[in-house]
Amino acid sequence: MGRYVVRRLLQMIPVFIGTTLLIFLMVYSLPGDPVAGLFGDKAANPATVAKIRHDLGLDLPILQQYWNYMSGIVLHFDFGNQIASGRPVTDVLGDAFPVTLQLAALAFAFELIFGIGLGVIAGLRAGRLADNAILIFTLLIISVPVFVLGFIIKMVFAFELGWIAPNVSNDQLLSEMIAPAVVLGGLSLAYVARLTRTSMAENLRADYMRTAVAKGLPRRRVIGVHLMRNSMIPVVTFLGTDIGALMGGAVVTEGIFNVKGVGGIIYESIIRREGTTLVGLVTVLVLVYLVTSLLIDLLYAVLDPRIRYA
């Protein structure tokens, strides 16, 4: 087990370098120059542009830029400065990540509780009315685009009923995050419910279930421990990868509800060719993905005793 973890941690290094280098090269190869872009429609003074580029180290060869950038991160935890505003990227990340974490955690809790709950109900009553109702409900959520869902929720709860404020204010209260979290977690909720339902319905007919029932175990224990634990493996896989997606891919939801999180910054950095900000964000996200996928692999062993890591 220990050796397995160490090996996985070591594997992270090449993955980490590879992804950051790829992103760095991709940003670099996009058409458009962030410094010239600051001048808009006007012609830029070449001397001023050259001076700005030099001060930011943008006039160096690309691989050297990458080296300087990565060594700054690894040695001094320095992600560089933004091109336009000159703000340290760590500040920008420090502003955005707590908000996104809050949003992602709420959305995750929402999809976990309601997704698995609905899935269990549907799985145990496979083929019956409750199962069909949940099937229709989840299909509906999957087929409605996020921004439509967002606007419907705003329309109903903010404008018609007046229960919530339509947008997240600058105080970023937890209560304001509920609506965006529901929208963000909605799609995954449907997937979680479908996965849980299928896996439960299948495992209901498994041999070990018959054994457990034959042993005379109480129904609560049969379902709660034997059935649930085995049925959770595909769900956990999905949930694990979903954490990363919730954190990085919330551009649309964040935009609709005025949440100033990571998604919006990624979008803005791409539009403005803010390479350092973008790579910094992606670096953190890559780490999140790597760590969660390791945790999930370890969770497998906990859930299913047949899986062992040497």
């Binding site: 600051l38 505003s85 100033k260």
Partner: protein, 546 residues
């Protein structure tokens, strides 16, 4: 709120609230106050995060410049019809349009209590013009004698002086500006915030000063919570004519215009600068007389990429062809339908609200006349390859009208026309600056200073800063030079008006339409007016007691 804000590019729906302005201008819509006014009330405006630090000479986009307009006051300002008024200056005079003498009003102070003297101006300009300080709008000092020593053109060049030769302090409240050559409308340029004074404390740590600016304007800086809001409060010792009628302003950052509009409706933000396309059809009904719909000084054109093979090989294109293309565009219908009334058909190259604007500056070529269009194109030898493309940035909401313009041209003349969408504004600019536009490109221009030369000289002179299509004609250049060396401002403006009338014979670009402000405000405020740049006059807004 003085001063044109230069280089405020018209990138699209989001970036459309642009440049320049006058104090106390606007059309006075909504001054019918019913509740009582609270002179210390604080209100909020939807404004995005400024792109850069808040340095007067480096703030080039609208989000930063609306904040700066509250924090700094310049020497002069102008009224909505283009007349010069004095703010921090007692007088700005010149006998020969070359040597200008500025006298300051006495008793002005910065927000930190230090006096505003002629040195505050001269030092600030010397600092901003220096290439080492990387100020984006430094080229504005280019008219002043000796500017090229501080701001060399060549890449990598070092400045060879640290003071502008043309600036001389006479005494505490007088200084002179000597220009390289006469510029009759130079006093107008002084209203732009590049020409702001800076306090002594600035030079100790310019970066810190950019995060917490100390100015001489009607408001002083209070706080900047990155990506969330900026707050400024009234400066009670302000001596200028445009004293704030409210207690302060909060500039609130929104992720989308839609979100801002919803917050306006639910009372969380008081003043908007623009309405998202989604809400345009309903905002008049939603807001009633709090909906704003007025034109401002900004124009959209189709600029011809004269360096492209299509226009120069085998021979230089006959302007008649471009006239024909212009007459094939049904501006009235497109602005009404596709653009939902957010633009107004242009009749010339100079936008409205600018000194020297004339109706029908382009004559007949902006009228929709398919038969005449066909005839002109034929007379000019036809469009090479019988096809054109219009380059635009796909992230700015331009695709719809580009398609409509193309359809209009094809239907009227049979010339094939396609939109050439670049994924975003950066890619679009890159293609323009590296001269890779294949045929025609979309171009937006907002005023820097309210004189017609800004829309003619800065766009059509050979090598001018906004002339990215490489239009060049010796006759036009000569007329521009003559207009610039006119004795008085009036003569200069008239000469430029004559030039605008003649531009139809050269067709450097096809005027499309003028921009309009589509905005609104909440029930909590009154006296909301919008200036020539489309931004609200922030000092004029009055907050009602609850």
């Amino acid at each position: 709120m003085r001063g044109a804000k230069s280089a405020k590019w018209v990138a699209g729906a989001i970036v459309v609230a642009l440049a320049a302005t006058a104090c106390g201008g606007g059309n006075g819509s909504g001054s019918d106050a019913k509740g009582e006014v609270d002179p210390n009330g604080i209100y909020s405006i939807e404004v995005g995060e400024p792109e850069k630090l808040l340095h007067p000479a480096d703030t080039m986009e609208s989000n930063g410049s609306i904040v700066m307009s509250g924090l700094f006051a310049q020497l002069v300002d102008y009224t909505p019809d283009g007349k010069l008024t004095m703010v921090n200056a007692e007088s700005v005079e010149s006998k020969d349009s070359k040597v200008w003498t500025v006298k300051l009003k006495k008793g002005w102070t910065f927000h930190d209590g230090t006096p505003v003297t002629s040195k505050s101006y001269v030092d600030a300009w010397n600092w901003a013009a220096n290439v080492d300080n990387k100020q984006g709008n430094a080229s504005w000092f280019g008219d002043i004698l000796g500017a090229e020593k501080l701001l060399p053109e060549k890449e990598g060049a070092k400045p060879t002086a640290d003071k502008l030769d043309g600036l001389k302090v006479v005494d505490d409240s007088t200084f002179t500006i000597t220009l390289k050559s006469p510029v009759p409308y130079f006093a107008y340029k002084l209203g732009y915030e590049v020409f702001s004074p800076l306090p002594e404390s600035f030079y100790k740590d310019p970066t810190a000063a950019g995060k917490k600016p100390v100015g001489n304007g009607p408001y002083k800086f209070k706080s900047w919570d990155n990506k969330k809001q900026i707050e400024i409060v009234r400066f009670d010792d302000y001596k200028g004519p445009n004293k704030a009628k409210n207690g302060g302003v909060i500039f609130k950052n929104y992720t989308t215009l839609e979100a801002a509009y919803e917050d306006l409706k639910s009372g969380n933000v008081d003043v908007l600068r623009q309405i998202a396309p989604k809400d345009l059809p309903v905002y008049r009904a939603d807001l009633g007389d709090r909906a704003v719909d007025q034109s401002y000084s900004s124009i959209q054109t189709l600029a011809i990429a004269f360096y492209a093979d299509q226009w120069k090989k085998p021979k230089k294109i006959d302007p008649k062809v471009i006239q024909g293309l212009s007459m094939a565009i049904d501006r009235a219908t497109i602005t009404k339908t596709v653009l939902q009334g957010t633009r107004e058909p242009a009749t010339g190259w100079v936008a409205k609200g600018v000194l020297g604007h004339q109706e029908n500056g382009a004559g007949d070529v902006t009228k929709f006349d398919p038969a005449k269009a066909k005839e002109l194109i034929k007379a000019g030898g036809g469009v090479p390859n019988n096809a054109i493309s219009i380059q635009f940035n796909a992230d700015g909401g331009h695709k719809e009208w580009v398609d409509a313009v193309c359809n209009s041209i094809t239907q009227a003349t049979g010339v094939k026309c396609v939109g050439d969408g670049k994924p975003d504004f950066q890619a679009d600019l890159q293609a323009r600056k590296s001269k890779q536009v294949k045929s025609i490109y979309r171009s937006g221009w907002a005023l820097d200073y309210p004189v017609n030369s800004n829309f003619l000289r800065d766009l059509f002179q050979t090598g001018a800063s906004g002339n990215q299509g490489d239009f060049s004609d010796p006759a036009v250049d000569a007329k521009i030079k003559a207009a610039d060396s006119a004795k008085t401002l009036d003569e200069s403006v008239k000469a430029y008006q004559a030039l605008e009338k003649e531009l139809v014979n050269y067709m450097p670009s096809i005027p499309l339409w003028y921009y309009k402000v589509n905005a609104g405000y909440s029930e909590k405020v009154t006296g909301v007016t919008y200036a020539q740049d489309g931004d609200p006059n922030i000092e004029e807004v009055q907050v009602l007691k609850k």
